[in-house]
Amino acid sequence: MIDALKSVGRWLDARLQLGSTIAEVAAHPVPRSSASWWYVFGSATLVVFVLQVVTGICLATVYTPAADRAWDSLIYLNYQQPLGWYLRALHGWGSNFMVALMFVHMIQVFLFGAYKFPRELTWVAGCVLLLCTLGMAFTGQVLRFDQNAYWGLGIGASIAGRTPIIGFKIVDLILGGPIIAGETLSRFFALHVFVIPALLIGFVGLHLFLVLRLGINEWPMPGRIVRRNTYLQQYQELVHADGEPFMPFAAQKDLVFAGLIILGLLVVAAIEGPIGPNGQPDPTIIQTVPRPDFFFLWLFSLFALLPPWTETFLMLTGPVAVIGLLFALPFISGTGEKSWHRRPFSVVIVILAVTIIGTLTWLGTFSPWSPVMDAWSAVPTPIDYVKGRTPLELQGAILVQSKQCRNCHSLGGTGGMRGPALDDTATRLTRDQIVRQIIQGGGNMPAYGKNLTPAEVNALVAFLATMHPPGEPPARASSQ
């Protein structure tokens, strides 16, 4: 039996000629120090990508990429297609896993100086893979053709439309027509299943080829300087003096980690279930609060918090600058120290980037800059704030609700966070100041002068003047 298998193997190898190549790849020496748990993230990203291809193809057999049917087919996948919910969950959470692993891989590569000579183009190929993966994430979010997808396209088009002179034509090209419609979805489908995956597969091939040919980066040691004329020889000496064959020495950790990631994905997808779709992509349903997927929330936050006068400039030049810097990195610092112990500036960049993106993402999850659109009718006035108030003050309390003040101002911790909480207004503003603030607005508050009668203003101010904690007196004008 075994002899028969062996003879089949020999027959195949005599014709395929792959055996020696595979053996060479498996046996190629890697530095002993590189067979570390820090080196497992790239392979895990690749494994998740392969899973995405598998689940993606499965979903494509049911999903209908037509604007009038896409949402229905997603609902069908979630509720009727056997295991459709699980495949959608695996694909959706798989994309989260892939983006997360890719960023961890990138940070590791950056901190370990792996992009330096002679691996500059490995890094550049990795940057292309980063853009492709984010492109897959965005186009995938569009294919989940729901309200978030519709208005997310509107946001994308509005950003592109800010390009000087040709902006409006770029919008037409992105949308496949003058407005978000059937051709928009078809365009993004073609990008998501043909164009970007083809680029991904091609550049993954190049990336891996370069890793094999140039050898995996050695563990960076402080003081071991990369020089163009000596590095290659030093590396060869290192892998021969203190190297081990890739298989199984380094691959075993990749295998274990990738296996755990797959198991983790299976569990997370089973517990969390499929992501969306939310409401059907009907633009006339305007009772919607569009939000992007997790990995774009930080951008969403950034657009709310940038000073408006810088916005168009930064929206157009920011991505070019950041992406340009990423690509240029190995050409700016292609030699020198690899160890993070000797590269404090790089460590600071990583800490800053992670902190900024993390904070913006966290802010994006509750978006304090957005009015809470239904707070005025859905969130009651706290009972303590109406106890013992005069009829005039109570009238003011009603106006705080009915004039939608609560959409931007909270009372008792509920309501919008756009403006300051009203619980202690009277300690910060005198009566006159409250009147002026309501009538003239300012400080990012609309002016209500035209929308309120003098009697209404009077009632509102009477109520707001009571808004101070029991032990704290209301503000007084210094002249009084």
């Binding site: 002179i165 419609a181 305007i286 709310a304 408006p308 009015p371 939608q404 990012n444």
Partner: protein, 167 residues
């Protein structure tokens, strides 16, 4: 003998490159034209009826919807486009696009406080479309309108963005 052979070989090779260069250039024309075709028209606008004037009481702002004049059979619900119609008095209107001028999210009208609010980044506009607060760089987009045969018509069809000449 030898040089003659080489030159014939180089000639054929060069001819091959030339033929392919011409062929690829010709092939690229329909491909590029096809992909860029959505941008072939300068503007995508047409007059669209928004219903009889009686649908729009004076001094009020109402949500109206129209069907995209360039719709395809497979557009489904996305062919329907909403807009805000404010009737000042008589034949005097303001018709606002639904899209916030910041990043295109749908603004919502609050009749009690007479404000349009955007759910994305907190843009707020007054009843006449002027910017009231938040990040939007300009007033709400307005459609051209006309009153004809007892109906309100607007000149619409494309997504209004900051770069749009007709916005």
């Amino acid at each position: 003998m030898d040089t003659e052979k080489t030159s014939r070989r180089t000639f054929l090779f060069r001819l091959g490159i030339a033929i392919n260069a011409i062929a690829v250039a010709l092939f690229a024309i329909p491909i590029v034209g096809y992909v860029l075709s959505p941008a072939r028209r300068f503007t995508w606008l047409d007059w669209i009826p928004l219903g009889p004037l009686t649908d729009y009481p004076e001094h009020q702002t109402r949500l109206a919807e129209y069907v995209n004049p360039f719709k395809k059979a497979w557009d489904g619900e996305t062919a329907k486009i909403p807009c805000w119609v404010r009737r000042l008095a008589g034949d005097e209107f303001q018709v606002f696009a639904i899209n916030c001028t910041h990043l295109g999210c749908p603004v919502r009208w609050f009749a009690e406080s007479e404000l349009f609010m955007c759910p994305c980044h907190g843009g707020v506009f007054y009843s006449d479309g002027r910017h009231a607060s938040g990040p939007p760089p300009r007033a709400l987009y307005q459609y051209k309108y006309k009153v004809d045969a007892g109906k309100l018509w607007i000149y619409a069809g494309q997504l209004p963005t900051l770069g749009e000449p007709q916005a």
